[in-house]
């Protein structure tokens, strides 16, 4: 038995210690927001927050999580009352197929919790591990900027590259 604290609630989990958190969230706790994408920690669809940091739940065994605060997208808001960041994703229509979005939001939430007013460069660097196959990254960036109440950066003319 391992006790996990998810979105403030404690759960006694009967599973092997090496079971990935993602499987436990989905199969034991019916928290289906986090998605299975690659299973290798390389796409970010499974991203959740542990102790304030965005992590890949597909490669994080539950044995390392006892006593730590796990936060999933279900802990942010509801359909009726979305969180400010979820609201910004809706307002910017940042989702196309939507598969990556729960992971995107959780990674962005970890950034905004630590730094409510990130620069564009900080947002881009922080979001780099999460992929969107539909290619809505530009809208995702806009949504995060909106939640951070940052204006879109001025569009600069493309710089010619020197060798």
């Amino acid at each position: 038995m391992i006790e996990l604290t998810v979105n403030g609630s404690r759960h006694a989990i009967d599973a092997d210690g090496d079971a990935p958190l993602l499987y436990v969230l989905r199969d034991h706790l019916a928290l289906n927001g986090a998605k299975f994408g690659c299973g290798l920690g390389q796409c970010g669809a499974c991203t959740v927050i542990v102790d304030g940091k965005a992590i890949f739940s597909c490669i994080t065994p539950i044995s390392v999580l006892a006593g730590r605060a796990i936060r999933t997208i279900e802990g942010l808001g509801t359909v009726e009352r979305p969180s400010p960041l979820q609201r910004a994703f809706i307002d910017e229509q940042a989702a196309q197929c939507g598969y990556c979005i729960a992971g995107m939001i959780m990674r962005a939430q970890a950034l905004l919790d630590a730094n409510p007013s990130p620069s564009d460069a900080e947002i881009r660097r922080h979001m780099a591990p999460n992929l969107c196959r539909c290619g809505t990254h530009v809208r995702i960036l806009r949504a995060i900027r909106r939640a951070a109440k940052k204006p879109a950066p001025a569009i600069k003319p493309a710089r010619t590259r020197s060798t």
């Binding site: 290798l40 920690g41 542990v50 102790d51 940091k53 597909c58 490669i59 390392v64 591990p129």
Partner: protein
């Protein structure tokens, strides 16, 4: 630095050298010359030499413009910032004549006469021919000028007294140009010229003495590079399989060799540079390095590979600890914490089963980091992961900094060492991690 110098020099001698140092480096007062014209072939040659010399790596800040300088380089004497080597008149080297440039590379003296710190490896560039230095000059002087002044250095006394470097040079600088060895092939000589000169491999891979000079009697025995361990080369390499010229070539050209591992940390930009230089030069470097004394490896490469395959993590055959009693369960928990973490967090990729990723990572039993003398590189890779450069294909490993606590990182690294390496256990994993956590880079 104090200890190193004091042992060798009396105070009056030291003062003499300081005065000498002040006196012998006049500013070149010539007016800024009109920018000379360079032909394309010369610039192209300079570009390749610059890639072999990794100028861009140190002379570009994170997120900064190429060659604009300002990168913070940690040294035991403080943090030194690289300079702007673009041809900007005010903040770069726009006013350098070719003679100023030669003096900087061959003597470690800037145009205004101040002495450069040996973190700029002029102690290697002394080997480089005037002709190659001139080609480098043609290359850097035709870059786009960048206006950027490097941040102030934070260097401790007495290293902050630049004229003292005259003494350093007297003691440690070998200012002779490279002389070919007629008994060796032209390829070997080319490799020796590049390795000892522009490529300055020893700057990281050779340990340094108290004054920050490379130890001549411990060449390529392993050193430090920006908070990473620069492993010993060839005989001193911790890799279980010896480095042949072919393996070195693959590693230096592609950044990856199946029997040794992946270029990571500060070595990653080095192999990036070598991907675009003439293949013959990379071959030459490999040939020269492989000709150094190989030392003894008890086991043949094929047997080592077979043994490594046997050690591979098998999720099915994991031993089941006796958790019948509470005490036993606790003991098993501690003992198995590393294995449990490895099974859940690492084995997804790090075992030779079917399925992704493709290609598989290097078997950990062959990995240089896992077999290294110190745990630093293994820890850094677990904490930070491995990331290809933006927009480029390359091996990916996620960092586990947020997912694992420090104790768990220590447990899994200790487990990996015990399971995959015959080398003695590391005793200082936790201490090294807390050292790295504090942002230290000795």
């Amino acid at each position: 630095m104090t200890a190193g110098l004091a042992h060798r020099l009396s105070i009056p001698a030291l003062l003499g050298v300081i005065l000498l140092g002040c006196a012998e480096t006049p500013t070149t007062t010539a007016q800024t010359p009109a920018k000379p014209a360079f032909d394309a072939a010369r610039i192209a040659k300079g570009a390749q030499l610059s890639a072999i010399g990794d100028c861009r790596v140190c002379h570009t800040a994170d997120g900064g413009r190429d060659f604009g300088g300002g990168r913070a380089l940690p040294t035991p004497f403080g943090t030194i910032h690289s300079t702007n080597i673009t041809p900007d008149d005010e903040t770069g080297i726009g006013r350098y004549t070719v003679d100023d440039f030669r003096r900087a590379l061959h003597e470690g003296v800037a145009r205004d006469g101040h002495r450069l710190y040996p973190v700029f490896p002029y102690d290697h560039f002394t080997r480089v021919t005037d002709d190659d230095v001139d080609a480098l000059y043609a290359f850097v002087m035709t870059r786009e000028p960048v206006k950027a002044r490097a941040p102030r250095n934070h260097v401790t006394f007495p290293a902050n007294v630049r004229p003292l470097l005259a003494a350093w040079n007297l003691l440690y600088l070998d200012d002779r140009r490279f002389t070919p060895n007629p008994a060796q092939t032209p390829e070997w000589n080319r490799g020796a010229y590049l390795v000892e000169g522009l490529a300055h491999c020893g700057a990281c891979h050779t340990p340094r003495n108290g004054a920050g000079a490379e130890k001549k009697d411990a060449r390529f025995a392993g050193g430090d590079a920006e908070g990473w361990e620069a492993p010993g080369l060839i005989a001193a390499s911790p890799a279980p399989i010896e480095w042949t010229a072919d393996a070195l070539f693959r590693y230096l050209r592609d950044g990856f060799d199946r029997e040794h591992g992946l270029a990571a940390g500060p070595m990653a930009p080095v192999v990036d540079g070598l991907a675009n230089v003439p293949e013959a030069d990379v071959r030459a470097i490999a040939t020269y390095l492989a000709s150094l004394p190989q030392g003894q490896r008890a086991v043949a490469a094929s047997a080592t590979i077979a043994a490594a395959a046997k050690r591979e993590f098998d999720p099915v055959a994991r031993h089941a600890p006796d958790r019948a009693t509470e005490a036993g369960a606790h003991a098993a928990e501690d003992e198995d914490a590393g294995e449990l973490i490895f099974a859940g967090a690492c084995a997804t990729c790090h075992f030779e089963g079917v399925g992704p990723p493709d290609p598989k990572p290097v078997p950990l039993a062959l990995s240089t980091a896992v077999n290294a003398k110190r745990p630093r590189n293994a820890l850094r890779i677990v904490v930070e992961g491995l990331h290809p450069r933006a927009g480029e294909a390359g091996a990916i490993m996620p960092g586990f900094a947020g997912a694992l606590t420090d104790r768990q990182i220590v447990a899994v690294v200790e487990y990996m060492r015990a399971r995959f390496s015959d080398a003695p256990r590391w005793s200082d994993v936790a201490a090294t991690l807390s050292f790295l956590d504090k942002g230290n880079a000795p």
